[in-house]
């Protein structure tokens, strides 16, 4: 079998830290080769070596059997290697065509020949059924289409080896399905693909072979058809991973959170939460299932005081907290793991220790008459860092920005749980994390429940909602369309509810009883 790319015994080191240690990856022509590893395992480093952004300390790279030295991305481009980055590299107010030709503009008598370029882009888009409009502006098109523009960019530059770096991280489920089709289509046209991911189901669905790396070391390459998610997870994490979170039956007690006919509007003044009712009791996890954009964000923001309530009432432990300031709500016993950890959860330019103090910096024992005792801040941070296994380069002094997503999230969870809140709101707590971190976080949520706390979980992942919750409230168009028991429901049923089809089901039930 012919290999289009061979990376043999690659070693890359940053100071004393070995990011890649003797890793071998061989890409066959016409295959989708997955590169699997936890956050921070060294996947991106390896690909940056291939793309010429880093120079390896040892090892050889062969392209089409010929040994090469890839000194910068231009060399990679000329060798036919293209990369679709996780964070798109697009100019927002340029058109698709302008973005694609950027850096290698075709000219005609000294001016850019945008017409022919646009035709060429359109033709390429049709050939690979990418469905991209060549003259649309980037800011006007969806995230999924922006990604296809990135793919077009590599194709336009003549790439026949395409690296996808965590391509599904920001896509909706529909867009993910579409992307899978596109990858298969690219293979049919003779391209080869390296897919960097830590999502096992994606690997099982599209890849031909998988190379696993763990903590910078190559663990091995397996054929997808001969493996299963459990085995892959074990290879990746290095121990057994429990997919189905073990938990005892819930023991719900008094009502902690009571929401009565809540109405909340978004920034444009459109009602996003409409007459919503919800109850969360001590000792239970209520999961809110629903498709993104059905009012979940507005609901959480209203409970936590970050958004104005238009109508209705929110009570915590029997006390009305509607419309209170965020700090008052926090202090009355609410912990909040926000859905966007970079936007709301962390001050990325603060050390992680300062971030752990974000909700308590103004209180004793950390501060006294307006003066912060940073020794105390760091002491508390070290305790949480250890307890929640937050890994970072320089402990509590590392900038939050420098931590991987999983470790950032663990720090937030530690901070929120450490305050011992009666109600813990966890919004998309495992978004973008690998299986090891997901398992850890689920355990912590269940632990809170077992301590008699109320937990409200919001998630777009059906698996997660079904696994962790004791009760599932399905949100659709701003209200709770139905509440179901995870043991008695199926993914299909939830899917229908999430699409707003509850009435029909109820009618059928009623009809059945009549017969």
């Amino acid at each position: 079998m012919e290999y289009v790319i061979e990376m043999l015994g690659i070693r890359k080191q940053f100071g004393d830290f070995v990011a890649n240690d003797n890793i071998t990856l061989q890409l066959k022509k016409g295959e989708i080769h997955a590169l699997l590893g936890e956050n921070g395992a060294g996947k991106s480093t390896l690909m940056n070596v291939l793309f010429g952004l880093y120079q390896p300390e040892a090892g050889t790279i062969r392209v089409h059997g010929k040994e090469v030295k890839i000194t910068d991305p231009n060399v990679a481009n000329n060798l036919g290697i293209g990369m679709v980055h996780q964070h798109f590299m697009l100019v927002e107010n340029f058109t698709v065509t302008e973005n694609i030709i950027l850096g290698s503009e075709p000219t005609k008598m000294g001016t850019i020949n945008i017409k022919d370029a646009s035709k060429e882009v359109q033709a390429l888009s049709e050939k690979y059924s990418l469905n991209v409009e060549a003259n649309a502006k980037i800011e006007d098109i969806s995230v999924g289409m922006q990604q296809r523009v990135e793919i077009l960019k590599t194709l336009y530059r003549g790439a026949d080896i395409i690296i996808f770096d965590e391509p599904t991280a920001s896509l909706t489920p529909q867009e993910i399905t579409e992307l899978m089709h596109i990858m298969k289509r690219l293979i049919e046209e003779g391209k080869s693909i390296i897919l960097i991911t830590h999502k096992l189901n994606e690997i099982m669905e599209v890849s031909d072979r998988v190379t696993v790396i763990r903590k910078g070391k190559g663990i091995g390459t397996v054929t997808t058809a001969e493996t299963n998610p459990t085995e892959l997870a074990e290879l990746m994490v290095g121990r057994q991973v429990v997919f189905k979170t073990e938990k005892a039956p819930a023991n719900p007690k008094e009502v902690v959170l009571q929401i009565d006919s809540l109405t909340v509007a978004d920034n444009r003044g459109i009602d996003k939460v409409k007459n919503l009712n919800l109850t969360v009791r001590a000792g239970e996890i209520v999961g809110i299932a629903g498709i993104d954009g059905n009012g979940q964000s507005e609901l959480i923001e209203a409970i936590t005081g970050l958004r104005k309530v238009k109508g209705g009432k929110i009570s915590l432990n029997g006390k009305d907290i509607t419309g209170l300031k965020p700090r008052k709500i926090t202090e009355s016993g609410v912990g909040h793991i926000p859905q966007d950890r970079h936007k709301h959860g962390l001050v990325l330019d603060f050390p992680i220790g300062h971030n752990i103090a974000l909700q308590t910096y103004y209180k004793k024992p950390i501060s006294k008459s307006g003066v912060i005792d940073y020794k105390k801040v760091n002491e508390i941070a070290r305790k949480i860092i250890e307890e929640y296994d937050v890994r970072s380069g320089e402990g509590e002094m590392s900038l939050a920005r420098s931590l991987s997503g999983g470790n950032q999230q663990k720090a937030i969870i530690g901070r929120e749980i450490d305050r011992n809140p009666d109600l813990l709101i966890a919004a998309l707590p495992t978004r973008g994390l690998d299986v090891g971190a997901i398992e850890f976080i689920h355990k912590r949520l269940i632990e809170q429940r077992d301590k008699g706390k109320a937990v409200l979980l919001i998630s777009f992942e059906l698996d997660e909602v079904m696994n962790v919750s004791d009760q599932i409230a399905v949100i659709y168009d701003g209200y709770i369309i139905d509440t179901v028991n995870p043991q008695e429901t199926t993914e299909q049923e939830l899917g229908l509810l999430m699409a707003g089809q509850s009435l029909q089901r109820k009618k059928e039930k009623v009809g059945g009883e009549n017969e």
């Binding site: 970050l306 926090t330 909040h336 962390l346 001050v347 330019d349 603060f350 909700q359 912060i372």
Partner: protein
């Protein structure tokens, strides 16, 4: 190369490079660079008088640098230090001449008036930014001109149509006979001590207090700050106001120390704008600002001596000083070069 050595070498090499390029500029323009630099040196250190004047020149730069740096650290770009300083100058000059009070009340009152005037002038852009999301850069720039002309108009009122305010009473002055006696009657005044205290105060606010924690947090990430229950708008306004107070005190140095009055200004003083460079030189750290101000103030004062002693015209002096500051500010380039150099040496071994 050890990190410590690099940290010492970088500013040294920067200054030397700046001096070399500055020398080339002087030589090309037909002046003797050695004479020029001797004149610069003499302008800074020649005798106790020049040294006193140098420290006097450094003092307002410390304040304007702190004002810019404080805003920077809290996520704001205060280009209005110039205007706030002018308002502070005027307020201190007026309080200094309008009241008859014992020194123990009069001097603090004049300083307070200056800080308040600067704070008030900075409150306007802070309020507009917090409530209406108007960018502070635009408002502060425009308020510089407003301050200049408002101050000139008010001077006319205070001075009954004259060109300058009356000299302040001795009870409000920062000057001291002691300093005059040891520096051969230079205008060195107590202000430099206040500047040192201000450096410590800024450090304390930012690094030790909950207020500083909130201000920095809001500067870095408004959303997370709101999530953590901070009052974002209050903090934006407060950051501007504190920055403006530093600027206003810078003006008080001129009113109560250097000039002991205020004359109508034909143009901006430049101290506020130079504060931006001072803050950047000092990496927006309080003690860094102090060093930046020392460099800036020394060069500025030393440069005054170059035309008379070495015949170098003021335009060339400005270029030479700008070059030195340019190289100090681009220390990053030298740092990278040093690292490359260090690496090569290692490989050769």
């Amino acid at each position: 190369m050890s990190k410590r050595l690099v940290n010492i070498l970088v500013p040294l090499i920067s200054i030397i490079l700046g001096l070399i390029i500055g020398a080339i500029v002087m030589a090309v323009s037909g002046f003797n660079p050695i004479d020029g630099y001797i004149a610069l040196w003499n302008g800074i250190f020649m005798d106790t008088y020049t040294m006193g004047e140098t420290v006097r020149q450094i003092t307002p730069y410390v304040f304007s640098g702190l004002a810019v740096a404080f805003a920077f650290r809290t996520g704001l770009f205060n280009i209005g230090v110039e205007g706030q300083l002018i308002m502070g100058w005027l307020a201190a000059a007026w309080v200094g001449q309008a009241f008859d009070l014992p020194a123990i009340i009069h001097l603090p009152l004049a300083l307070l008036a200056a800080a308040l005037a600067g704070a008030l002038w900075a409150f306007i852009p802070g309020l507009l930014k917090a409530k209406l999301q108007v960018h502070e850069v635009i408002v502060t720039i425009m308020l510089n001109y407003t301050a200049l002309h408002v101050a000139n108009a008010l001077i006319e009122v205070i001075a009954d149509g004259g060109e300058r305010t009356e000299r302040i009473h001795e009870t409000a002055s920062l000057r001291s006979q002691f300093f005059e006696s040891i520096t051969d009657y230079s205008r060195l005044h107590w202000g430099f001590l206040l500047a040192l205290i201000a450096v410590v105060i800024m450090w304390f606010i930012l690094e030790k207090t909950t207020l500083g924690y909130e201000l920095k947090s809001v500067g870095f990430n408004k959303n997370a700050s709101q999530y953590a229950g901070m009052n974002v708008n209050k903090n934006i306004i407060l950051a501007m106001v504190i920055s403006g107070a530093f600027a206003g005190l810078g003006g008080a140095m001129e009113a109560l120390g250097t000039f002991e009055n205020m004359s109508k200004l034909h143009a901006m003083t430049g101290i506020g704008f130079d504060g931006i460079a001072v803050a950047l030189l000092g990496a927006n750290q309080p003690f860094g600002v102090l060093l930046g101000a020392i460099l800036f103030g020394s060069l500025k004062n030393g440069g005054l001596n170059m035309p008379s002693e070495a015949g170098v015209p003021t335009e060339i002096v400005s270029i030479v000083i700008a070059l030195i500051i340019f190289f100090v500010a681009s220390g990053y380039i030298i740092r990278v070069a040093l690292e490359r150099f260090g690496k090569k040496r290692k490989e050769e071994k």
